[in-house]
Structure formats: C-alpha cells, structure tokens
C-alpha cells in the first residue's frame, strides 16, 4: 500500500494529465453525441421517408455493432483506407463514443418529442407558428426536462467506456494507473483507487445533470427540493429500454 501511495503522489502530474484526458474524451464525446442525438432525433420525425430512413439506418447501425468494434475499426481500419493522414487515437475515441452514444441519444430525443401532448402542437399550428417556432417555443421547452435523466445515464455510460482508450494507446487515467500498478506491483490499491476516482466522477456528473434538470423544470414552473439534487440516477441504460 505504502509503495503505491508514494508512487501515486510522486507521479501526480501524470495522474492529473491522465484524468484530464479522460475528462476530455468524456466531454468531447458527449458533445458530439449531443449534437447527433438532436440531429438524428429530429430527422426521425421528418415527413420525408429518405430523411427518416437515413436516421433509422444510422441509429440501428451504431447501436447494433458493438462500441468496442467501432473503436477498433476507426483505429485499425480507417488509416488503411486513407494512408495520407494519421488519425489521432484520442480523436478515434471521441468519434466512436460520440457516434455510438449519439445513436442511443437520438432515441431519447425521439421519445421525449413524441411524449409532448399532441394538443400542444395543434395549438401552435392554430396560432400560425412556423415549424421552427413550434419546436423552439412550444415542443422543446416541454420535452427538454424529460430528456435530461436518460441523457445523464448515457453520460455516465460514456464515462465508463473511456478506459477503452487504454487499448488504443491514449494516455488516459486507466493507462497511467496501469503504469503505476506495473511499476509498484501493488494491484489492489491501484485498481481500488481507479474505481473510486471513477465513482466520484460519475457521482459529480450525476449531480450536475440533476441541477440541469432542476433548472429546466423550474422554467416550466416545477420546483425540485435540495434533496432531489443529491439523488443518484435510476441506473437504467437509456435508449435501450424503450
């Protein structure tokens, strides 16, 4: 235990940069996933069959082929298609996480948009609002608070996938801890520390998303107690169970 603790403290800069890489992968991946979720989710509600079709195929493809396979495909196969330029391993990770979780997220968006009562859309049409106004002023404000809990679940899932970066030689938190474990030979403290750090990160992200949800609900005139902010997530994989 002592050896590991000393090594951990001595290599604090490495640990911190690993942590930063893990956070970067999570945040950039989540940002890409967020954009794709809305793009594909809105496309799936289109009246045009080709638009719906493209969205459906993309979603089913990225949900159906395993994230692990997608990551390795980007890392090993993509460079052989176009040898002119190198793709940064971290970018591979961000792309794979973003596209995979974007596919799951689009189902969340689709579900939440569909759950807004029909009368609300009809009223907006009766008021002569343009499609964009209907979405921006009526549908989205009501659908948004419903999207946040499943988005929070997906965000935690994404965070928990980042150790895969270790396999494509990114210096993430997992890689740094593996190196420390190798050097000290202290397996149990190394992995326990890693698990605890991930647990803390997951809890912090959950709390942030709870605050976001409370803010979104407050805008609709519903208020959340302080206790509600501290609750943990329901633990279901969003987008899978619908």
């Amino acid at each position: 235990m002592g050896d590991f603790l000393t090594a951990f403290l001595d290599n604090m800069p490495d640990v911190r940069s690993g942590l930063w890489t893990t956070l970067q992968a999570t945040l950039y991946g989540a940002a890409l996933a967020f954009v794709l979720s809305f793009l594909l989710g809105l496309m799936s509600g289109s009246r045009l069959l080709p638009v719906r079709g493209v969205s459906r195929v993309f979603v089913e493809f990225f949900r159906g082929t395993s994230l692990y396979v997608q990551l390795f495909w980007l890392y090993y196969v993509l460079p052989t298609i176009n040898t002119d330029y190198e793709i940064e391993p971290l970018l591979c990770g961000v792309l794979a996480f973003g596209m995979n979780y974007g596919a799951y997220g689009s189902e969340v968006v689709r579900g939440a948009l569909g759950a807004v009562p029909k009368a609300q859309r009809e009223a907006a049409i009766a008021l002569n609002m343009t499609p964009f106004q209907r979405l921006r002023r009526v549908v989205l404000p009501q659908a948004w608070p419903q999207m946040i809990p499943p988005f929070a679940n997906l965000l935690i899932q994404l965070l928990k996938c980042t150790p895969l970066l270790w396999l494509i030689s990114v210096q993430d938190l997992m890689t740094v801890m593996e190196q420390l474990r190798d050097r000290t030979g202290e397996t149990v403290p190394a992995y326990l520390t890693l698990l605890v750090i991930f647990f803390v990160l997951a809890y912090a992200l959950t709390m942030l998303m709870n605050m976001l949800e409370a803010a979104a609900k407050a805008r609709l005139g519903q208020h959340t107690s302080a206790r509600g902010l501290l609750r943990s997530r329901s633990g279901q994989i969003a987008g899978v169970d619908r």
Binding site: R63, Q70, K160, G235, V240
Partner: protein, 214 residues
C-alpha cells in the same frame, strides 16, 4: 483512397470469428442468467425491513454500477490469477449487470399495487409466501422486456472480455489482424455479425413489449 477488401481474407477469417462467436454467446447466456438471478436477490434485499441490510446493499450496487466494466474485469482477473478468465469475466459481467437489473426489478416491484401487499397482510401470509405467490409473479412479468434489452446490451459488451485474454470474437479478429497486418475484413465482419445478431433480437424484444402492453 482505397477500401482494401479481399474476399479471400474474409473467407479465411470468418471461421475463426464464428469460433469466437460461440464463446461470445456462452458468456452472454451465463452472464445474463447470473445478472437476472443476482439482480432479483439484490432487489428483494433492498426491501429488507432492516436498514442494516438495505444500506450496504444499496451502496455496493451503486458502486458496481458507477464504475467501469473494463476496470472491474482487469481487477477481478488480478484477484483470481489461477482461474480461467472466461469464468471470471462471465461472473464480472453478471455482477455488473446485476446492478442494472436490480433497478429493473425494483421498479417492477414498486409497480405492484399497495393493495396486494395489504391483502397479503390481511390473509396473514408469511413474508416468503407473500413474495413467492403474490408479488414476484406480478413484478417479473413486467420486467421481462427490460431484461431482454439488457441481454442485448451485454451481448454487445462481451468484447470487453477480450481485454482479459478470453478468445471471443473480437479477440479472434485482433489476433488475425496482428498476424496478417490486415484488420479490415476481420473487424468489418465482426461488426456485421454483431448487427446481424442484435438487430433481430431487439425487434423480438420490442414485439414482446407490445404484447405485454407496455
């Protein structure tokens, strides 16, 4: 820009992938069976009358659920060095997913109307009989589609076992790629096999959902 695809290599690697696919299926079936059983036990324990039982059960499941499967796998293998990684990996998959399934059961149990519990008390049924004859039959019916969805998502996470040297499908693909320096066919086919297996299954689960009236 060329997509370097060779049918010969595809034909060469396919039998290896299917060999690995058997392991993938095996791990999924045993993993989800363990997750289904353990999740139920955790959900019931989470409703124990004593706080001394409830609190630790909840803390442990929350921890297992919030930490990465990859780290849990390598940790478990380091803890049990003599055991076959396939067994360790399947057990870890089952335990990790029990964290999710227990929530599904919990929701299913919560959905059983209060009157059912009260009726059991009125008939002075024992705790065991209340669970066995009244609560669980109603709760479990509701959770079947959700369990199906977790089985599919576990199936797609079995490649994680490759990290701990289990020779499932993706590991076969990697080994073939490392040996021949051609990854294209192996990984593309592995992805397509996943898609071909998981998409019809998810349609099946969706129709089950509709039939149970969700």
């Amino acid at each position: 820009m060329t997509f370097d695809w060779s049918w010969e290599r595809a034909q060469e690697v396919l039998p290896l992938l299917l060999e690995g696919f058997k392991i993938t299926l095996l791990a999924t079936v045993f993993g989800i069976a363990l997750a289904a059983a353990l999740g139920l036990a955790v959900a019931v324990a989470g409703r124990a009358p004593s706080r001394l039982v409830r609190a630790p059960v909840r803390a442990v499941t929350e921890f297992v659920r919030s930490t990465p499967l990859v780290v849990q796998l390598v940790f478990a293998v380091a803890l049990f060095p003599g055991t076959d990684p396939l067994y360790v990996g399947t057990a870890v998959l089952g335990i990790h997913y029990a964290g999710y399934t227990s929530e599904v059961y919990r929701a299913g149990i919560d959905a059983v109307p209060r009157g059912q519990w009260e009726a059991c008390t009125a008939l002075s049924m024992s705790g065991r009989r209340t669970w066995q004859a009244v609560i669980l039959p109603q709760a479990i019916r509701n959770v079947l589609p959700a369990l199906g969805n977790y089985a599919i998502s576990m199936f797609k996470e079995t490649p994680f076992l490759a990290i701990i040297t289990v020779s499932e499908m993706v590991r076969q693909a990697r080994e073939y790629g490392a040996e021949h320096f051609y990854y294209t066919e192996a990984f593309t086919l592995a992805g397509l096999i996943f898609l071909a297996a998981s998409y019809p299954t998810s349609l099946l689960v969706r129709s089950l959902e509709k039939r149970l009236g969700h």
